[in-house]
Amino acid sequence: MAEQFISRGFKGRRRGTNSELKGRIPPGQYATEEFPVLSAGPTPRTLLERWDFSIYGEIAEDLKWTWGEFLKLPRETATVDIHCVTKWSKLGTVWSGVSVDTLLEGINLDAQPDVGYLIAFCDGGYTTNLPLADVRGGKAWIAYEFDGKPLAPEHGGPARLLVPHLYFWKSAKWVRGFKLVKEDRPGFWETAGYHNYGDPWKEQRYAGD
């Protein structure tokens, strides 16, 4: 539209003067104190005895951790802002878990630069795709605690991927592992009309954005 459309009679909420806060909310988003739940199907329940996290695909030797082993990995706490494509953002959320860097430590990724992507797979069949670069360098975690408590099943517990710099559907709930691949392949929402990459600051909500 050449000219900016104005919604007749719309004033909007009183705009806060807190510019620091404003700078943390991407375009088209609003801040909420709640923690809405969004998922496409029923919440899977996996017994911890049967839970494991595995990395396979373009990798010399597959990796696998049981729940007990996973908890023994170095633990990090991250305070991050999260942004859901359904327009809510939640600022200053506190998560604990394992940095993806820690999980990838044993793999010499730099020796195989053509392996550029991963597919996160989950209980319930959900998948999402990410460039490897987006989960390395302190940008992503497998989180098992939220706000100091075990992560609730409806929020992705026992463990979910946390990639806060992308829209939150990339932070796959009930995650069980990564498949490392050479070629990018769209996941569940990425094949259902949503953006392949999902940068909230560029408002990449839907395919073509």
Partner: protein
């Protein structure tokens, strides 16, 4: 894929569905057809450039010429009070869509041809399910369909008369209401929150390979999805969509 472009819709009609819910009927010039169950993003812009966006389910079937959005007024909302209180016939609304390729039902999709439909709604979560029911009626589908619809009060039942009419003309459609807070005298429907016994009495048997769609507040959707799993429904055939006050 081409970008979903923002476009202007003109308000042709506003229907008061219940004391807090209105349906907006919009005329869109460049609408490409949608599937029943999809939604749109609505964007409001203030004179100083401030913008707010929210998603709303489409309540009209793909076959309709005009697009219907059913909007519940949320007390602390920013977008919904504008849509229900300020917007008038003749005003324009900016939106883009259709969005969402999973929580959809298409009568001509042969994949689930023999599956009966179970639709479970809580409050204004009935909107995308109503698009499915209307689509089913217009396309003359006789797919056995049950709508289990939870409202707080009789007065808050959205599309009540239309649902009554549709049921009267179609033996393969059942609509079962439950009123959780107060029931009128001589009420023959349920009078409690959806629970296991209610689903066991009303839902299709798992052997019938049903396809289930649940839409409403998170608590209702979580409960229904979990109970359907317990009753033997296949996880991949339970599709969920959540509506809540955070829908804004």
């Amino acid at each position: 894929m081409a970008q979903l472009k923002w476009q202007l819709g003109t308000v042709l009609e506003i229907r008061q569905e219940t004391p807090t819910v209105k349906s907006l009927i919009l005329d869109l010039r460049d609408w490409t057809t949608h599937f029943a169950g999809q939604h749109v993003d609505v964007r409001l812009t203030a004179p100083d450039g401030y913008q707010a966006q929210r998603s709303y389910s489409i309540a009209s079937p793909p076959e309709d010429k005009y697009l219907m959005l059913t909007v519940e007024r949320l007390e602390d909302g920013e977008v919904s009070p504008y849509l229900t209180d300020v917007l008038r016939v003749g005003y324009q609304v900016e939106l883009r869509g259709p969005i969402g390729g999973y929580f959809v039902w298409n009568a001509r999709d042969s994949r689930y041809n023999d599956s009966p439909l179970l639709l479970v709604a809580g409050g204004s979560g009935v909107a995308p399910l109503m698009a499915m029911i209307r689509h089913r009626a217009i396309s003359n589908s006789k797919r056995p369909t049950t709508l289990l619809y939870s409202s707080r009060f009789y007065e808050e039942v959205i599309y009540r008369e239309e649902l009554d009419r549709l049921v009267a003309n179609d033996t393969s459609l059942r609509v079962i209401h439950t009123l959780t807070r107060r029931q009128p005298q001589n009420w023959t429907g349920y009078g409690r929150r959806i629970d296991r016994a209610m689903l066991a009495e009303t839902a299709w048997l798992p052997e019938e390979k049903p396809l289930a769609y649940a839409c409403g507040p998170t608590a209702l959707v979580e409960t229904v999805a979990n109970l359907l799993l317990e009753l033997g429904y296949e996880s991949g055939r339970i599709k969920t969509e959540r509506f809540g006050p955070t829908g804004g």
